[in-house]
Subunit: 210 residues, 2 copies
């Protein structure tokens, strides 16, 4: 019932093994460093062997994005609507922060597959169950998602190479732009957690009642 065919020998390659190795490669070296050849080297295999399990580089990246999305946990079933939406948003954020260098794959690519639709279902189902008409449910979900994507893009791209932000603060103060200079101490640092909670509350408030 579980084995796809009667082949017990652990074949070297599989779509899953490739995607996981790809994710590890992104985690370690970043998105720009991903190449079919390097990934094949890492798996001890000819580059062209990957094409037996994955449709090409773009499909590989989509597959890695789906691995990230699959890590979002289902919200507790006894939660009310607001708790459910909040849990999904926090789960989404946690999944992205677990793999910050791969997160842009989810945040910037149009994902069309079935498995990419699962989180949409998880958010839409409680909205409809709470009595939201489908058009308003979709509308509200889109607004929340836009905020989540924008916030996470900022959080995940925040250059970790950027040592102390002291230099950045000095640059901002010396920018010659008066408002930027005046707000420099607050521009130089960002409490991502607080920004996330602040914006999420706004968006969930805006959802309103069915």
């Amino acid at each position: 019932m579980t084995a796809r065919r009667g082949r017990p020998s652990p074949s070297v390659l599989s779509r899953d093994r490739i995607l996981l190795a790809g994710l590890a490669l992104v985690d370690e070296e970043g998105l720009d460093a991903v190449s079919m050849r390097k990934l094949a080297r890492r798996l001890g295999v000819d580059p062209m062997s990957l094409y037996n399990h994955v449709d090409g580089k773009d499909a590989l990246l989509d597959g890695i994005a789906e691995v990230l999305l699959a890590a979002i946990p289902a919200p507790p079933p006894e939660a009310d609507l607001r708790e459910t939406m909040s849990a999904l948003a926090h789960g989404f954020r946690a999944a992205m922060l677990d793999h910050p260098r791969a997160a842009p794959l989810v945040l910037t690519r149009r994902l069309a597959s079935m498995t990419a639709l699962a989180p949409v279902e998880a958010a839409l189902a409680p909205l409809l169950a709470a009595g939201f008409p489908p058009d308003r449910a979709v509308h509200g979900l889109r607004a929340v998602l836009a905020f989540l994507i924008g916030t996470l893009m900022r959080e995940v791209e925040a250059a970790p190479t950027f040592g102390g932000s002291v230099q950045r603060l000095a640059d901002l103060s010396a920018s010659g732009l008066p408002a930027v200079a005046a707000a420099a101490p607050y521009l130089a640092v960002c409490d991502h957690e607080a920004e996330f909670e602040f914006g999420l509350r706004i968006m969930l408030d805006a959802l309103g009642e069915p």
Copy 2:
């Protein structure tokens, strides 16, 4: 006072000419198609000549992003705070929609240059002038920006290749996911304009009073 040196001959290459040609290349063929070599070919020049005016491919892409940002018009000076913020947001959106294939350069890259700071100044100045303390001004601006970036990413990535959305609707209905199927007609289409106005109103309302 304006000429940098007494060289009247219109030298073939300049940073600006390169950035504009780069933007045109992105507009026509998309981001993935951009290469230093192809851009040089388009300019009738050796690929390596570009490096005299631009620091490399990454700097080229940053430069193109700055060209986009520079197209955001200054808001009318007599406008009140809300009108000013709204005008900036609409100007930002219009600038991105003028070059949808280049927009991800602005929306997904961390821009550090001075010219990328100009729009921040334009938004921060009226907030401070209206009496917002700098920490709240930065906080509010970040929330609005996150929403704008997320919304515009969706709008700009929406595959224009995707013929009628009839096929997509059928896929969604047949997904086996009940909530997705129930909301399929609304998931299949997106009124980007309305989503933008809806979310912008929420974020500007959330700014509150100083």
